[in-house]
Assembly symmetry: C2
Homo-oligomer: 235 residues x 2
DNA sequence: ATAAAATACGAACGATCGTTCTATTTGTCA
DNA sequence: TGACAAATAGAACGATCGTTCGTATTTTAT
């Protein structure tokens, strides 16, 4: 008999209303019993998210995935009721990786400017470190699914929107603390967010580390320009 | 008998060595006889590029394309020897659209700062105008194919690299003319290029026009910051 | 140790993928 | 108008897609 089909516990609502938006992301982590099937399920998702970051969530096929993992197609399929649920699980898995690699470490920095810097730098680092072989998972997934409809698209949109808002929120917090005099929080967030995405794009396309150099220079400039502290050119 | 199979006349080499890099792109336009088959071929590519911008070049299937165009699968297929050649033709078609919509109009502006502004603004406008229903064709195609190998990826990489270099080249030209005091041409190009891509991403994902507002504000800021002219706040 | 429940497998389904034939229609030029 | 080529259609191919089902095997609990 196939494994019990677990229902999606979305864990979506009201992340922004929290005092510390990043913290809410941590609470959403599901800790399921460490049964035998759960282990292979994780192994599947680990490999699947790697494939999906390179070939897309649609290019990820059940047969190919099973072949690479050396398990039967039906055995694999039993863990997910359908391809769409597999895709959803992959997106969810990628979200957890994103939290582990970026959100959690950033939480160890003080709110305001230090955390803002950490968020952007960790994000850039996760691209640079090739956490996913195809670069930022959500950059790929969002551009692949932006034209479609359905729960996968919605989930990707939710995560990416949340992250952009988190960056913008930290810009706003920095201003509240007098660390930034940024005019429009969303505009600075737009810049920073765009620099990382541009670096991801350029690096994936041309495999040249200079894209990260440029991104860091642009990020520093943008923050310094909006900063009240005089951080440079003091003898 | 199927139509003659035309061989790819790449038209790639030494675009940058030209005096006016943008002009070289115009020369590459192929003007084929306007036979009956050529008309349907164009009709196919027109529709195919629209589909590809939304569903990706891999999501573009021969059967679905034929069905939507109300022609037979084999009749369609006769125009292209293989799916890969179809994809290549679609990329080539999209390149022509890009030239028509952005490069050609930008050429009507003086070299240097005016043309730089035109290039970026026309590019942004082509996203805003939904020239392709899925947004910038090359943003989608490059992120879809960055992980693979083969002629399609190479073609996309070539076009996108050329365009980035064209932007950077115009920044450099602006500096030569004393219109910009930008430190690193590639860095300003990185910013401008990133803003448009970020706007494309945000607009495709969330269908909100504010992304264009933010992009234009960021673009203006970046150029003004690097500009020697005092363009603002003069009574 | 044994029963029950949880996992995995192998074989097969219909649908669609890209592709290849051969035949038929359409257009062009003598 | 007739000959010939260009252009489209139709039917079928093997491969692979996502999916289902019945059965074996393992893991877990008693």
């Amino acid at each position: 008999m196939p494994p019990v089909k677990r229902k999606q516990s979305a864990g979506t609502a009201k992340l922004r209303s929290s005092v510390d938006p990043l913290l809410a992301a941590l609470a959403a982590r599901d800790s399921r019993p460490d049964s035998a099937g759960e282990a292979t399920r994780r192994r599947i998702l680990e490999h699947a998210s790697a494939i999906a970051s390179r070939s897309g969530l649609e290019g990820l096929t059940v047969g190919e995935l099973a072949k690479q993992l050396k398990i039967s197609k039906s055995g694999l399929f039993a863990h997910f009721g359908s391809k769409e649920e597999l895709q959803l699980a992959v997106v969810q898995h990628a979200s957890r990786r994103f939290v582990d690699e970026i959100v959690r470490p950033a939480l160890e920095h003080d709110r305001g400017l230090p955390r803002l810097r950490a968020m952007v730098e960790f994000w850039l680092g996760y691209v640079e470190r090739n956490v996913f072989p195809g670069g930022c998972f959500f950059a790929a997934a969002s551009l692949e699914f932006d034209g479609r409809a359905g729960p996968v698209r919605d989930h990707v949109a939710e995560v990416t929107a949340w992250w952009f808002d988190a960056v913008a929120g930290e810009v706003a917090e920095s201003r509240r603390r007098g660390q930034l005099q940024a005019a429009d929080p969303d505009l600075l967030a737009f810049r920073l967010h765009g620099y990382v995405q541009e670096a991801n794009w350029g690096y994936q396309m041309f495999r040249d580390d200079r894209w990260f150099v440029r991104a860091r220079a642009a990020i520093d400039d943008a923050i310094r320009q909006a900063s009240t502290e005089i951080t440079a050119s003091r003898p």
